[in-house]
């Protein structure tokens, strides 16, 4: 649906986006992740034909953003960071204007507006001035604007920025509900949002593409070392954490053992091992053979948060490049 190749955008002095390539299949929700100033908005603006690329190509549904901007714009719904609303208009009036602008015929417009208002839960403010609405409502009006012409592709620039927690959840649900019929790109710097809503992640930092993969793959791939949480309980008497630690460290493949929190007779550990060697059976045997109870043995997934920090902090860039 969306194909970006070698996309570069230079401003007068800075390079905002540097040689980015990715592809997005139809019907996916993709999280566009990066710290502030990474080039998320710029990339989105290129995709929506708001800015022309300095080099490289971007295609939406097979149409080039430079050669066929009108066709691309017909297929794209865009919600910029600040919803592009006119405060002096009523919600209905605004959506009518947008609908007409996007080429919806006069006849089907009222029906479409009702549908969109219901979908975005703004039915109760249709006769209110946009300028008098709260931030959450305004955001939803912006979203309504973006889906007005039922576009194939939805591009949402930080759709939950500045909303209260309840509104954030509602907006996320709304976006999830739109998936399937639309291909959605959603930019954010809030990680849980990506974990909760997206299937695919594109991470960029300083204008460069750092990683692009599905959320689960990315988590797996970036585990240079695997971590296992182990909880050991003494069968009788008091457990000596040091003894357990020494025993666990002897298991082949284990690189490090961390002593975690203790609950009277139970004691948690985090065992790091090299990637690829499964140490869990050996760990279990070691614990049992030493005469302790094994309460828990659980592989720990890296949260997206950790991955993100790993990928985007400067000292980790080389490592991330290697992982790619």
């Amino acid at each position: 649906m969306i194909k970006v190749e070698g996309l570069t955008k230079r401003y007068a002095r800075t390079v905002a986006v540097d040689d980015i390539s990715f592809e997005i299949a139809k019907g996916q929700i993709v999280g566009f992740l990066g710290p502030n100033g990474a080039g998320k908005t710029t990339t989105m603006r290129v995709l929506t034909c708001f800015l022309p690329p300095s080099a490289g190509t971007a295609k939406v549904a097979g149409f080039d953003v430079l050669k066929n901007p009108i066709e691309v714009k017909r297929r794209i719904g865009y919600l910029p960071e600040t919803p592009p609303v006119y405060p002096e208009m009523e919600v209905d009036e605004y959506l009518t204007f947008v609908g007409r602008l996007k080429g919806i015929g006069k006849g089907e417009l009222p029906k479409r507006i009702s549908e969109v208002c219901e979908r975005c839960a703004i039915g109760d403010v249709r006769k209110r001035l946009v300028g008098k609405l709260s931030k959450g409502y305004r955001q939803r009006v912006g979203l309504a604007q973006a889906i007005m012409h039922n576009p194939d592709v939805l591009i949402l620039d930080e759709p939950t920025a500045g909303l209260d927690p309840k509104q954030i959840i509602e907006t996320r649900e709304l976006i999830k509900g739109l998936a399937g019929s639309h291909t959605i790109i959603l930019s954010t710097h809030i990680l849980p949002e990506v974990e909760q809503t997206c299937e695919q992640v594109i991470i960029i930092a300083k204008g460069r593409l750092v990683a692009t993969d599905s959320v689960s793959n990315l988590t797996n791939r970036l585990r240079g070392s695997e971590t296992v949480a182990v909880e050991v309980e003494a069968r009788d008497g008091v457990l000596d954490p040091v003894a357990v630690r020494q025993r666990l460290e002897k298991v082949p493949g284990v690189s490090r053992v961390l002593v975690k929190d203790a609950h009277d007779k139970r004691q948690g550990f985090e065992v790091e091992s090299l990637k690829g060697c499964s140490v869990r059976p050996e760990l279990a045997r070691a614990v049992v053979e030493a005469g302790w109870n094994l309460n828990e043995l659980r592989p720990m997934a890296l949260s997206l948060e950790e991955i993100f920090l790993q990928l985007t902090s400067p000292e980790q860039e080389a490592a991330a490049g290697g992982a790619k």
């Binding site: 034909c49 800015l51 022309p52 714009k73 006119y86 002096e88 208009m89 602008l101 996007k102």
Partner: protein
């Protein structure tokens, strides 16, 4: 074409929901009414004077009232136009709604034409108020309506040309005030350009005199439709709108 109309309607609405339209109309009504009153008063006193001196020469309403009034209105227009055009693009740039327009399936030129045309309609509505004054002349006398028509056509052409320039200036900034002040400065310059011809006969002075928008209006005020002046205004309108489209394009490359 349909898109031009959609944009134009939206702009007109936002003129008329804000106090700008009514403020400008009120301002214009007061000042053009004042000029009309002065011109009529002069006409009446002159008429009485000449009758007392026994010269019952019929005086021409068009020459004594309509022409000075139109000349004054053309100058008042210079003050109104910056207020009409300053918000056109500057406001959209400031509030970010320009992103909506620029990412909708419409051409830049359609956006520009829509906005310019809305400004022109707004200007025409303001000018329309002065027709109320002139209609009094038709009630009490018999002025020739054709020169009046040509005069108003001239006002619209002159307005259209300055509005196009104002629209261009509005795309260059996100600050309405700056757009307004700059447009006002340019309008003023285009008005006083021909003053150099009063003392200087060199070619450059003639060129400057030619560039003055008010000089070209004089023939219209006289009720003469001269193709030379029509072409001047039309080419200025095209030039202004062309600059606007270039400016919008460069906006995308720079921003």
């Amino acid at each position: 074409m349909k898109n031009v109309w959609i944009i134009c309607r939206k702009e007109l609405k936002s003129y008329f929901v804000s106090p700008i339209a009514y403020g400008l109309m009120a301002f214009f009504a007061a000042i053009s009414g004042y000029f009309f009153y002065i011109a009529t008063a002069i006409f009446v006193t002159r008429g009485i004077e000449s009758q007392m001196m026994g010269r019952g020469m019929p005086m021409d309403l068009n020459e004594w009232i309509v022409r000075p009034l139109l000349m004054n209105v053309s100058v008042i227009g210079l003050f109104l136009i910056p207020m009409i055009t300053m918000r056109l693009f500057a406001e959209e740039k400031r509030s970010g709604t320009i992103e909506l327009l620029a990412t909708s399936p419409v051409r830049d030129m359609e956006i520009i034409l829509g906005k310019w045309f809305a400004a022109l309609v707004m200007y025409a509505c303001i000018l329309g108020i002065s027709l109320l004054n002139l209609s009094l002349l038709f009630v009490y006398g018999k002025p020739d309506w054709k020169p009046i028509l040509i005069g108003y056509l001239g006002l619209l052409l002159q307005g259209g040309c300055l509005l196009a320039i104002g629209t261009f200036i509005s795309t260059t900034t996100r600050n309405q005030i700056i757009a307004g002040v700059a447009t006002f400065a340019v309008c003023l310059l285009l008005w006083v350009f021909d003053w150099v011809t009063a003392y200087e006969m060199a070619t450059w002075a003639k060129v400057m005199g030619y560039m003055s928008v008010v000089t070209h209006f004089e023939t219209f005020a006289k009720g003469v439709l001269d193709s030379k002046d029509v072409i001047f205004y039309l080419s200025m309108i095209f030039f202004g709108l062309f600059l606007t489209s270039r400016s919008m394009e460069s906006l995308r490359w720079r921003s």
